[in-house]
Protein backbone atom coordinates (compact mmCIF):
# COMPACT_ATOMS: atom_id res chain seq x y z
CA UNK A 1 0.00 0.00 0.00
CA UNK A 2 2.71 2.38 1.01
CA UNK A 3 4.90 1.43 -1.91
CA UNK A 4 1.96 1.66 -4.27
CA UNK A 5 1.15 5.15 -3.09
CA UNK A 6 4.74 6.24 -3.39
CA UNK A 7 4.63 5.20 -7.03
CA UNK A 8 1.17 6.47 -7.93
CA UNK A 9 0.22 9.27 -5.54
CA UNK A 10 -2.17 10.94 -7.94
CA UNK A 11 -3.98 7.77 -8.92
CA UNK A 12 -4.38 6.56 -5.33
CA UNK A 13 -5.82 9.91 -4.29
CA UNK A 14 -8.35 9.78 -7.14
CA UNK A 15 -9.32 6.34 -5.91
CA UNK A 16 -9.56 7.24 -2.24
CA UNK A 17 -11.52 10.46 -2.50
CA UNK A 18 -14.88 8.89 -3.54
CA UNK A 19 -14.43 6.20 -0.87
CA UNK A 20 -13.84 8.94 1.68
CA UNK A 21 -17.02 10.80 0.70
CA UNK A 22 -19.13 7.62 0.75
CA UNK A 23 -17.83 6.63 4.16
CA UNK A 24 -18.36 10.08 5.62
CA UNK A 25 -21.95 10.19 4.35
CA UNK A 26 -22.62 6.73 5.76
CA UNK A 27 -21.40 7.51 9.30
CA UNK A 28 -24.73 8.53 10.81
CA UNK A 29 -26.78 5.56 9.48
CA UNK A 30 -23.92 3.19 10.38
CA UNK A 31 -23.80 4.49 13.95
CA UNK A 32 -27.57 4.21 14.31
CA UNK A 33 -27.49 0.68 12.94
CA UNK A 34 -24.72 -0.30 15.32
CA UNK A 35 -26.56 1.12 18.33
CA UNK A 36 -29.72 -0.79 17.36
CA UNK A 37 -27.68 -3.93 16.86
CA UNK A 38 -26.16 -3.82 20.34
CA UNK A 39 -29.62 -3.54 21.85
CA UNK A 40 -28.69 -0.48 23.91
CA UNK A 41 -31.73 1.49 25.04
CA UNK A 42 -32.18 4.88 23.36
CA UNK A 43 -31.67 7.88 25.61
CA UNK A 44 -29.84 6.02 28.36
CA UNK A 45 -26.58 7.48 29.62
CA UNK A 46 -24.40 4.62 28.50
CA UNK A 47 -26.07 4.58 25.09
CA UNK A 48 -25.43 8.28 24.56
CA UNK A 49 -21.79 7.93 25.62
CA UNK A 50 -21.27 4.98 23.28
CA UNK A 51 -23.03 6.74 20.43
CA UNK A 52 -20.83 9.82 20.90
CA UNK A 53 -17.68 7.70 20.79
CA UNK A 54 -18.69 5.46 17.89
CA UNK A 55 -19.76 8.41 15.76
CA UNK A 56 -17.04 10.93 16.59
CA UNK A 57 -13.94 8.72 16.33
CA UNK A 58 -14.30 7.75 12.65
CA UNK A 59 -15.68 11.18 11.76
CA UNK A 60 -12.78 13.06 13.26
CA UNK A 61 -10.28 10.57 11.84
CA UNK A 62 -11.73 11.03 8.35
CA UNK A 63 -11.69 14.81 8.58
CA UNK A 64 -8.20 14.76 10.01
CA UNK A 65 -6.81 12.56 7.26
CA UNK A 66 -8.24 14.74 4.52
CA UNK A 67 -7.14 18.04 5.99
CA UNK A 68 -3.69 16.90 7.04
CA UNK A 69 -3.20 15.64 3.50
CA UNK A 70 -4.31 18.99 2.07
CA UNK A 71 -2.22 21.01 4.49
CA UNK A 72 0.75 18.74 3.78
CA UNK A 73 0.49 19.68 0.11
CA UNK A 74 -0.03 23.40 0.78
CA UNK A 75 3.03 23.47 3.06
CA UNK A 76 5.31 22.35 0.26
CA UNK A 77 4.75 25.78 -1.27
CA UNK A 78 6.20 27.43 1.84
CA UNK A 79 9.43 27.09 3.77
CA UNK A 80 10.92 28.96 6.73
CA UNK A 81 13.71 30.12 4.45
CA UNK A 82 11.28 31.77 2.04
CA UNK A 83 9.19 33.12 4.92
CA UNK A 84 12.28 34.73 6.37
CA UNK A 85 13.07 36.37 3.07
CA UNK A 86 9.54 37.79 2.92
CA UNK A 87 9.76 39.12 6.47
CA UNK A 88 13.22 40.69 6.31
CA UNK A 89 13.16 44.44 6.87
CA UNK A 90 9.37 44.68 7.20
CA UNK A 91 8.00 47.51 9.25
CA UNK A 92 6.46 46.64 12.56
CA UNK A 93 2.74 46.37 11.92
CA UNK A 94 2.79 45.03 8.34
CA UNK A 95 5.48 42.59 9.39
CA UNK A 96 3.38 41.33 12.29
CA UNK A 97 0.35 40.72 10.08
CA UNK A 98 2.40 38.94 7.43
CA UNK A 99 4.36 36.89 9.98
CA UNK A 100 1.18 35.73 11.71
CA UNK A 101 -0.38 34.58 8.46
CA UNK A 102 2.80 32.87 7.31
CA UNK A 103 2.92 31.20 10.72
CA UNK A 104 -0.18 29.22 9.79
CA UNK A 105 1.12 27.80 6.52
CA UNK A 106 4.87 27.54 7.03
CA UNK A 107 5.94 24.07 8.09
CA UNK A 108 7.21 24.41 11.63
CA UNK A 109 7.78 22.10 14.55
CA UNK A 110 8.28 23.45 18.04
CA UNK A 111 11.59 21.57 18.32
CA UNK A 112 12.92 23.96 15.66
CA UNK A 113 11.85 27.07 17.57
CA UNK A 114 15.39 27.95 18.64
CA UNK A 115 17.23 27.62 15.31
CA UNK A 116 14.33 29.43 13.66
CA UNK A 117 14.47 32.25 16.17
CA UNK A 118 18.23 32.65 15.70
CA UNK A 119 17.89 32.44 11.93
CA UNK A 120 15.14 35.07 11.79
CA UNK A 121 16.61 37.56 14.23
CA UNK A 122 20.13 37.07 12.88
CA UNK A 123 18.93 37.82 9.35
CA UNK A 124 17.33 41.11 10.38
CA UNK A 125 13.71 40.11 10.90
CA UNK A 126 12.52 42.42 13.70
CA UNK A 127 12.10 40.79 17.10
CA UNK A 128 8.39 41.59 17.36
CA UNK A 129 7.75 40.18 13.88
CA UNK A 130 9.63 37.00 14.79
CA UNK A 131 7.43 36.67 17.86
CA UNK A 132 4.27 37.03 15.80
CA UNK A 133 5.45 34.06 13.78
CA UNK A 134 6.38 32.02 16.86
CA UNK A 135 3.00 32.71 18.46
CA UNK A 136 0.86 32.03 15.39
CA UNK A 137 2.63 28.85 14.31
CA UNK A 138 1.60 26.63 17.24
CA UNK A 139 -1.56 28.56 18.20
CA UNK A 140 -3.36 28.25 14.87
CA UNK A 141 -3.05 24.57 14.48
CA UNK A 142 -4.52 22.75 11.50
CA UNK A 143 -5.72 19.88 13.66
CA UNK A 144 -7.56 22.32 15.90
CA UNK A 145 -9.16 24.01 12.90
CA UNK A 146 -10.35 20.67 11.55
CA UNK A 147 -11.78 19.54 14.84
CA UNK A 148 -13.54 22.83 15.48
CA UNK A 149 -14.98 22.70 11.99
CA UNK A 150 -16.06 19.09 12.38
CA UNK A 151 -17.57 19.41 15.84
CA UNK A 152 -18.92 22.99 15.88
CA UNK A 153 -19.15 24.13 12.28
CA UNK A 154 -17.32 26.64 10.14
CA UNK A 155 -18.20 29.73 12.20
CA UNK A 156 -16.35 28.55 15.28
CA UNK A 157 -13.41 27.39 13.18
CA UNK A 158 -13.21 30.78 11.49
CA UNK A 159 -13.55 32.56 14.80
CA UNK A 160 -10.69 30.56 16.20
CA UNK A 161 -8.42 31.38 13.27
CA UNK A 162 -9.40 35.05 13.48
CA UNK A 163 -8.74 35.36 17.19
CA UNK A 164 -5.51 33.36 16.95
CA UNK A 165 -4.30 35.75 14.25
CA UNK A 166 -5.30 38.82 16.25
CA UNK A 167 -3.44 37.60 19.33
CA UNK A 168 -0.31 36.80 17.33
CA UNK A 169 -0.38 40.18 15.56
CA UNK A 170 -1.09 42.20 18.70
CA UNK A 171 1.32 40.32 20.97
CA UNK A 172 4.16 40.52 18.42
CA UNK A 173 3.46 44.21 17.87
CA UNK A 174 3.52 44.95 21.60
CA UNK A 175 6.70 42.97 22.15
CA UNK A 176 8.24 44.88 19.23
CA UNK A 177 7.25 48.22 20.73
CA UNK A 178 8.61 47.33 24.15
CA UNK A 179 12.18 47.37 22.78
CA UNK A 180 13.23 44.23 24.58
CA UNK A 181 16.19 43.40 22.32
CA UNK A 182 18.51 43.57 25.32
CA UNK A 183 16.80 40.52 26.78
CA UNK A 184 17.87 38.32 23.92
CA UNK A 185 21.05 36.39 24.70
CA UNK A 186 23.99 38.36 23.29
CA UNK A 187 25.48 35.56 21.22
CA UNK A 188 22.36 35.40 19.04
CA UNK A 189 23.27 38.73 17.46
CA UNK A 190 26.88 37.71 16.97
CA UNK A 191 26.07 34.80 14.73
CA UNK A 192 26.35 35.70 11.09
CA UNK A 193 25.42 32.54 9.41
CA UNK A 194 25.26 32.11 5.71
CA UNK A 195 21.58 32.76 5.00
CA UNK A 196 21.50 31.18 1.59
CA UNK A 197 23.38 28.08 2.59
CA UNK A 198 20.79 25.73 1.22
CA UNK A 199 19.45 26.07 -2.24
CA UNK A 200 16.00 24.66 -2.69
CA UNK A 201 14.87 22.54 -5.56
CA UNK A 202 11.30 22.99 -6.76
CA UNK A 203 9.30 19.83 -6.14
CA UNK A 204 7.03 18.31 -8.77
CA UNK A 205 3.32 17.91 -8.08
CA UNK A 206 3.93 14.22 -7.44
CA UNK A 207 6.51 15.14 -4.81
CA UNK A 208 4.01 17.48 -3.21
CA UNK A 209 1.37 14.77 -3.04
CA UNK A 210 3.91 12.46 -1.49
CA UNK A 211 4.60 15.12 1.14
CA UNK A 212 0.87 15.23 1.82
CA UNK A 213 0.82 11.50 2.28
CA UNK A 214 3.91 11.70 4.51
CA UNK A 215 2.15 14.28 6.66
CA UNK A 216 -0.86 11.99 7.09
CA UNK A 217 1.34 9.08 8.11
CA UNK A 218 3.32 11.26 10.47
CA UNK A 219 0.58 13.36 12.10
CA UNK A 220 -2.34 10.95 12.16
CA UNK A 221 0.06 8.26 13.36
CA UNK A 222 1.09 10.47 16.25
CA UNK A 223 -2.26 11.96 17.12
CA UNK A 224 -4.66 9.02 17.22
CA UNK A 225 -4.03 8.01 20.87
CA UNK A 226 -4.74 11.60 21.98
CA UNK A 227 -7.86 11.50 19.90
CA UNK A 228 -9.16 8.27 21.42
CA UNK A 229 -8.53 9.51 24.96
CA UNK A 230 -9.99 12.92 24.18
CA UNK A 231 -13.12 11.56 22.55
CA UNK A 232 -13.42 8.94 25.29
CA UNK A 233 -13.34 11.66 27.96
CA UNK A 234 -15.73 13.71 25.86
CA UNK A 235 -18.09 10.73 25.60
CA UNK A 236 -18.12 10.28 29.39
CA UNK A 237 -18.88 13.97 29.96
CA UNK A 238 -21.52 13.80 27.24
CA UNK A 239 -23.24 10.79 28.78
CA UNK A 240 -22.80 11.24 32.51
CA UNK A 241 -22.29 14.89 33.48
CA UNK A 242 -25.67 16.49 34.20
CA UNK A 243 -26.93 19.30 31.95
CA UNK A 244 -25.80 22.75 33.01
CA UNK A 245 -23.32 21.31 35.47
CA UNK A 246 -20.54 23.41 33.97
CA UNK A 247 -22.60 26.61 33.92
CA UNK A 248 -21.60 27.64 37.43
CA UNK A 249 -17.94 26.69 36.94
CA UNK A 250 -17.18 27.78 33.40
CA UNK A 251 -20.28 29.77 32.52
CA UNK A 252 -20.53 33.45 31.71
CA UNK A 253 -21.74 34.39 35.15
CA UNK A 254 -18.49 33.15 36.65
CA UNK A 255 -16.33 36.14 35.67
CA UNK A 256 -13.21 34.63 37.21
CA UNK A 257 -13.45 31.49 35.08
CA UNK A 258 -11.58 33.02 32.10
CA UNK A 259 -8.32 33.89 33.89
CA UNK A 260 -8.50 30.71 35.96
CA UNK A 261 -8.92 28.61 32.79
CA UNK A 262 -5.87 30.28 31.27
CA UNK A 263 -3.84 29.80 34.46
CA UNK A 264 -4.67 26.11 34.42
CA UNK A 265 -4.15 25.84 30.67
CA UNK A 266 -0.68 27.39 30.36
CA UNK A 267 1.33 24.70 32.18
CA UNK A 268 -0.82 21.96 30.65
CA UNK A 269 0.09 20.74 27.25
CA UNK A 270 -1.96 18.49 25.05
CA UNK A 271 -2.30 17.88 21.41
CA UNK A 272 -5.41 19.68 20.08
CA UNK A 273 -6.80 16.25 19.18
CA UNK A 274 -6.98 15.44 22.88
CA UNK A 275 -8.41 18.71 24.11
CA UNK A 276 -11.11 19.62 21.60
CA UNK A 277 -13.48 16.66 22.12
CA UNK A 278 -13.41 17.55 25.81
CA UNK A 279 -14.10 21.16 24.92
CA UNK A 280 -17.13 20.09 22.91
CA UNK A 281 -18.55 18.12 25.80
CA UNK A 282 -17.90 20.98 28.27
CA UNK A 283 -19.75 23.42 26.00
CA UNK A 284 -22.69 21.09 25.83
CA UNK A 285 -22.95 21.09 29.60
CA UNK A 286 -23.20 24.84 29.92
CA UNK A 287 -19.62 26.12 29.80
CA UNK A 288 -19.41 29.34 27.79
CA UNK A 289 -17.61 29.54 24.46
CA UNK A 290 -15.17 32.29 25.48
CA UNK A 291 -14.00 30.50 28.60
CA UNK A 292 -13.57 27.22 26.79
CA UNK A 293 -11.76 28.82 23.83
CA UNK A 294 -9.43 30.60 26.23
CA UNK A 295 -8.67 27.33 27.98
CA UNK A 296 -8.04 25.59 24.68
CA UNK A 297 -5.79 28.32 23.31
CA UNK A 298 -3.67 28.42 26.42
CA UNK A 299 -3.24 24.65 26.30
CA UNK A 300 -2.34 24.52 22.60
CA UNK A 301 -0.66 27.87 22.04
CA UNK A 302 1.40 28.36 25.16
CA UNK A 303 3.26 25.27 26.18
CA UNK A 304 5.74 25.18 29.00
CA UNK A 305 8.22 22.77 27.35
CA UNK A 306 8.50 25.00 24.29
CA UNK A 307 8.96 28.08 26.41
CA UNK A 308 11.70 26.37 28.38
CA UNK A 309 13.51 25.58 25.12
CA UNK A 310 13.41 29.30 24.27
CA UNK A 311 15.39 29.94 27.46
CA UNK A 312 18.48 29.09 25.36
CA UNK A 313 18.08 32.32 23.42
CA UNK A 314 15.92 34.54 25.62
CA UNK A 315 16.60 35.95 29.03
CA UNK A 316 14.03 35.16 31.67
CA UNK A 317 12.57 38.70 31.58
CA UNK A 318 11.66 38.33 27.91
CA UNK A 319 10.14 34.90 28.48
CA UNK A 320 7.99 36.43 31.19
CA UNK A 321 6.94 39.25 28.85
CA UNK A 322 6.17 36.71 26.12
CA UNK A 323 3.97 34.53 28.35
CA UNK A 324 2.39 37.57 29.97
CA UNK A 325 1.44 39.28 26.71
CA UNK A 326 0.06 36.14 25.08
CA UNK A 327 -1.85 35.05 28.18
CA UNK A 328 -3.38 38.52 28.49
CA UNK A 329 -4.40 38.34 24.84
CA UNK A 330 -6.10 35.00 25.39
CA UNK A 331 -7.93 36.29 28.46
CA UNK A 332 -9.21 39.32 26.55
CA UNK A 333 -10.41 37.06 23.74
CA UNK A 334 -12.19 34.87 26.28
CA UNK A 335 -14.08 37.84 27.74
CA UNK A 336 -14.92 39.24 24.32
CA UNK A 337 -16.46 35.94 23.23
CA UNK A 338 -18.41 35.54 26.42
CA UNK A 339 -19.73 39.04 25.82
CA UNK A 340 -20.63 38.53 22.14
CA UNK A 341 -22.23 35.11 22.55
CA UNK A 342 -24.52 36.14 25.32
Amino acid sequence: MEKFFAKHPVGTTALFLPAWIALYAALQPLTDALITLTGLVQGERLTEAVRFFVFEVPKVMLLLTLVVFGVGIVRTYFSPERTRKMLGGRSLFTGNVLASMLGIVTPFCSCSAVPLFIGFVGAGVPLGVTFSFLIAAPMINEIAVVLLFGLFGWKTALLYVGTGLSIAIAAGYIIGRLKVERFVEDWVYQIHANTDALEESIPSFRDRMQSGYGAVKDIVGKVWPYLLVGIGAGACIHGYVPENFMASLMGKSAWWSVPVSVLIGVPLYSNPAGIIPIVQALLEKGASLGTVLAFMMSVIGLSLPETIILKKVLKIQLIAVFIGVVATGIIIVGYVFNFIFA
Binding site: S79, P80, E81, R84, P107, F108, C109, C111, S112, V114, P115, L116, I118, G119, F120, G122, W187, V188, I191, A193, N194, T195, A197, L198, I309, K312, V313
Partner: protein, 81 residues
Protein backbone atom coordinates in the same frame (compact mmCIF):
# COMPACT_ATOMS: atom_id res chain seq x y z
CA UNK B 1 34.05 12.30 4.44
CA UNK B 2 32.81 13.87 7.65
CA UNK B 3 29.13 13.94 8.42
CA UNK B 4 27.39 15.99 11.05
CA UNK B 5 23.86 15.57 12.30
CA UNK B 6 22.57 18.88 13.67
CA UNK B 7 19.81 18.81 16.25
CA UNK B 8 19.16 19.20 19.97
CA UNK B 9 18.49 15.49 20.40
CA UNK B 10 14.84 15.23 19.49
CA UNK B 11 13.25 12.21 17.89
CA UNK B 12 13.92 13.35 14.31
CA UNK B 13 17.62 13.83 14.90
CA UNK B 14 18.00 10.34 16.30
CA UNK B 15 16.16 8.84 13.36
CA UNK B 16 18.34 10.79 10.93
CA UNK B 17 21.49 9.51 12.62
CA UNK B 18 20.27 5.92 12.39
CA UNK B 19 19.33 6.26 8.72
CA UNK B 20 22.61 7.91 7.81
CA UNK B 21 24.47 4.98 9.39
CA UNK B 22 22.41 2.53 7.33
CA UNK B 23 22.97 4.54 4.15
CA UNK B 24 26.73 4.68 4.75
CA UNK B 25 26.85 0.97 5.38
CA UNK B 26 24.87 0.16 2.25
CA UNK B 27 27.12 2.38 0.15
CA UNK B 28 30.23 1.01 1.81
CA UNK B 29 31.51 4.47 2.72
CA UNK B 30 33.70 4.99 5.72
CA UNK B 31 32.81 8.22 7.43
CA UNK B 32 32.74 9.78 10.84
CA UNK B 33 29.27 10.74 11.99
CA UNK B 34 29.28 13.48 14.54
CA UNK B 35 26.28 14.81 16.45
CA UNK B 36 26.05 18.55 16.99
CA UNK B 37 23.62 19.33 19.79
CA UNK B 38 24.73 22.79 20.83
CA UNK B 39 22.36 25.48 19.53
CA UNK B 40 25.14 27.99 19.06
CA UNK B 41 27.04 25.61 16.80
CA UNK B 42 23.89 24.54 14.97
CA UNK B 43 23.06 28.18 14.28
CA UNK B 44 26.41 28.72 12.61
CA UNK B 45 25.32 26.49 9.75
CA UNK B 46 22.37 28.76 9.09
CA UNK B 47 19.65 26.13 9.17
CA UNK B 48 16.17 27.14 10.27
CA UNK B 49 14.77 23.71 10.90
CA UNK B 50 16.23 20.72 12.63
CA UNK B 51 17.39 18.11 11.95
CA UNK B 52 20.18 19.29 9.70
CA UNK B 53 22.60 17.19 7.74
CA UNK B 54 26.08 18.52 7.03
CA UNK B 55 28.40 16.66 4.67
CA UNK B 56 31.97 17.91 4.48
CA UNK B 57 31.00 21.18 6.18
CA UNK B 58 28.23 21.89 3.66
CA UNK B 59 24.56 21.83 4.58
CA UNK B 60 23.09 19.01 2.52
CA UNK B 61 19.60 18.86 3.98
CA UNK B 62 17.46 20.35 6.73
CA UNK B 63 13.98 20.26 8.17
CA UNK B 64 12.97 16.66 7.68
CA UNK B 65 14.26 13.13 7.86
CA UNK B 66 14.96 11.89 4.33
CA UNK B 67 14.54 8.23 3.47
CA UNK B 68 17.60 6.00 3.37
CA UNK B 69 17.35 6.02 -0.43
CA UNK B 70 17.38 9.82 -0.54
CA UNK B 71 20.31 9.91 1.89
CA UNK B 72 22.23 7.55 -0.35
CA UNK B 73 21.64 9.92 -3.28
CA UNK B 74 22.90 12.86 -1.23
CA UNK B 75 25.97 10.99 -0.06
CA UNK B 76 26.69 9.65 -3.51
CA UNK B 77 26.42 13.11 -5.04
CA UNK B 78 28.87 14.64 -2.55
CA UNK B 79 31.27 11.78 -2.94
CA UNK B 80 31.49 12.10 -6.70
CA UNK B 81 31.42 15.89 -6.72
Amino acid sequence: MTIKVLGPGCMNCKTLEKRIQIALQELGINAVVEKVEDYEKIALYGILRTPGLVVDEKVAHSGSVPTVEKLKEILFATQTA
